[in-house]
Amino acid sequence: MKASRVLQIVPLKFRPTDDGALLFADDAGGYFKADQDFLERYVDDSLTQSDHRFLDVNGHAFDGVGDLAYSGFEYRFASRLYSPAELDYVILVPTLRCNLSCGYCQVSRVNETTPGFDWNGETLQAVLRFLGGLSTKRIKIEFQGGEPLLRLDVIRHVQAFCRSKFDHCEFVICTNLQEVSPEAWAVLEEPHVFTSTSLDADRATHQAQRTKNAQKTSSFFDNFDAAVNRLGPNKISALPTINPTNPPPATAVIDTFVGYGIRSIYLRPVNHQGFARKRFDARSSASSWNRYHSSFIDALIDFNWDADAPLEEYYFTHCLRRVLRSGHNHHADLRNPNIIGYSYVVIDHDGKFYPTDEARMVSRVGQFDLSMGDVFSGIDRDKIDMLNSEALNNFHPDCVHCPYQAFCGVDLVDDLSRYGRIDLPKHLTDFCQRHTYIFDKIFSLIYSEDPKVGKSLAIWSGAPRFDSSFAKVHR
């Protein structure tokens, strides 16, 4: 029977799923599964009354422009668009010098004794002038390097300045925790100071990838133990860098983090830069990463089933919430449009501004100059704004056909750094391959009937239980 009520249906995109069905989604992130017959009715414009009823209730239809269903759809669509807030987050690189020499970090460091890669007095003064000119009342400062603890003096200056200027300050110190002086401990222990470090899965992996010898490995783990004890697991985060061609077993990573009482694990693939990157073909590295990540998520689901204190993989949780919610735009790695250079900036060791840390790397290996002025003469966004004008997936010829578009984002700096261009067909990019995988994975879990999966999804989505209505199938 054909429908009698004149409903308007919003555009739907679809993608086949493993179980032979089709996943449909709209521009505001509403989704459901249906079969080939429904697709044909949709294409032929011969939807039935029951199709209409379903599409109406599930938020894919409206009677007229401006009615509540239409406005609700608009609201969900609009809140998925990121618009940069005022600048309140500054990443500082006071030195490129480092007391470690990790395999994949050749471009972002120099040896501990190399002169000429530090802020001098003038740079510090210019940075403070810049911070002094910000209009925000709350500031987040992240110290990166190199090893920023080699410039504790700078950290303290910046802290003192910020505390006198802003109502609320948060400091993150990204350190390798290799050598921590008593003065440095005192800083890390202060309120509103957070420590971020790298912990590559387990002792063996950490040593192979970072510390190289047993003695340095021990000093890291001693300091890490001390940090967890002195600061507490809520003031410290540890990122495991994973080499997808030779990854540690998921259970080894899980055991390590559980042992330290850290419940959120943010897996990062090794980020090769420059020549090292060229050796890894983008396609194969994404697929080995995706395979590993998927098995890691499965291991977490197993772990959480009978764990007292559950775990999450930070980025997976973020993407899951982006599927379920509008307005979940706080993570800089996944935004649409991905406007950079506004709500946060990086200030390098030579005082140059960059829109992101990745842009700093790209510039450092000489691929492109993505700097945007310096602290001496001010921010100059001309180049970056050209990039920003393309940093939107809504009109991208590949993304417009993708049901994951509303959840996904863009990362043009990543495209530039890998391929030297931003106009590759999306499915050839590492970004698209990783995100296609992650949303495929999310939907396979959402539609899973395994109670173990349901338990983890509940935890990761923030609800007491994961409701079966999130797995709608229209027949």
Binding site: G30, V57, L68, A463, F470
Partner: protein, 362 residues
């Protein structure tokens, strides 16, 4: 129980009078202030523009900063603002265009316009107070209401309002003044009982109410207004709760909070208790799923007026203490309960014989 009316010696007035009672002179003195002269037992004598004004109250009860409305010829005054309470509500009209099965304030035919007096009373409220506005349906007198809101917002930018409305009377052109009032100044409490128009209309006793409500909510959304969506759980809509949750997820992503509320046994709520009260201590499943759905969607759900022990453990965090101090009571078995501090207890007019079956100290 706290008195919302106080006995007074009638004043020789022809117009309603708003008076603020003060124990001592304050910096921001107004022409509406009465200063205490003498306390004798439950009798308090105030000086008001050279006249004596007598109020009766329990000896230890503070009236300092309270605002009273005295009507000509009446021997009792309305205590419009209790300075030390967060639960001050102005009942601006008793008229209503709906007739809800659970109405706690059944509508009356006639309306006495006291908006001018209420505007004065609001201007005398303590700093940063939140003033409730309810009815009846306040927006039946939309122009007068907006006048009052604009007047008070201009003189007292620190005040906030919580306005209960059935949202039947917003027009698209109201969006402009809603924006002008500011979205953080007013929280609109708007009831929605079912995503099924027929069920909603039946519960509120008005045909077409759901359709008007949809239009009103669309206007509030466009104006960027703050909305607390309110759903009283009833036998009549228990099976529709998940539908409401999904309606919120698809259409009402802008709301600040969804309040899932237990029934108040007063007014029509008392009359229809047997056919309407849903014992959620025996069966909580639909409410649980509704909370699961909107929470995963990143929206806030709260359970209002649920005694904590009626709620399964995983959902107790959603049940803040919400029953106003002057309406609240506890039962015998609450004495030994470890949750009493955080539990909102029961309405004074709750009758346990007809109430929840599965309660007990936790």
């Amino acid at each position: 129980m706290i008195d919302l009316r106080l006995k007074v010696d009638p004043l020789p007035i022809v117009e309603p009078l708003v008076v603020r009672l003060l124990d001592q002179p304050v910096d921001n003195r107004t022409e509406h202030d009465a200063i205490i002269l003498d306390i004798d037992g439950d009798r308090r004598e105030y000086e008001y523009h050279g006249f004596s004004f007598t109020v009766y109250a329990r000896p230890h009860e503070s009236l300092d900063g309270d605002v009273l409305l005295v009507l000509p010829g009446q021997a009792s005054a309305h205590r419009l603002i209790r300075a030390n309470s967060n639960h001050n509500t102005f009942l601006v009209t008793e008229q209503c265009d709906q007739l809800c099965v659970m109405c706690s304030q059944p509508p009356k035919k006639y309306h006495f316009d006291l908006f001018d007096q209420l505007a004065i009373a609001a201007s005398l409220a303590p700093r940063d107070a939140v003033i409730g506005i309810s009815g009846g349906e306040p927006l039946l007198h939309k122009e007068r209401l907006f006048q009052m809101l604009f007047a008070v917002s201009a003189s007292r930018p620190d005040l906030r309002f919580h306005i209960l409305t059935n949202a039947q009377h917003f027009e698209p052109q109201d969006a402009e003044r809603l924006v002008a009032l500011g979205s953080d100044r007013i929280l609109w409490g708007v009831p929605l009982y079912s995503a099924n128009p027929k069920t909603h209309d039946r519960i509120v006793g008005k045909e077409g109410a759901f359709a008007s409500l949809e239009r009103g909510l669309a206007t509030l959304m466009r104006a960027g207004a703050s909305v607390e969506l309110r759903t009283v759980v009833l036998q009549q809509n228990w099976e529709d709760l998940i539908g409401v949750a999904e309606f919120i997820a698809t259409r009402l992503g802008f709301i600040s909070v969804w309040a899932i509320m237990q029934l108040e046994r007063i007014g029509y709520g008392r009359m229809n208790w047997a056919s309407s009260f849903k014992d959620t201590s025996a069966d909580f499943e639909q409410a649980a799923r509704a909370i699961d759905i909107v929470t995963a969607r990143g929206l806030k759900a709260w359970l209002y007026n649920f005694p904590l022990c009626s709620v399964p453990q995983d959902y107790r965090g959603y049940a803040p203490s919400t029953i106003s101090d002057w309406k609240r009571k506890y039962l015998d078995f609450c004495d030994g309960c470890g949750a009493r501090e955080t539990c909102g207890g029961f309405f004074q007019w709750y009758d346990h014989k007809e109430g929840f079956n599965g309660l007990g100290p936790i």
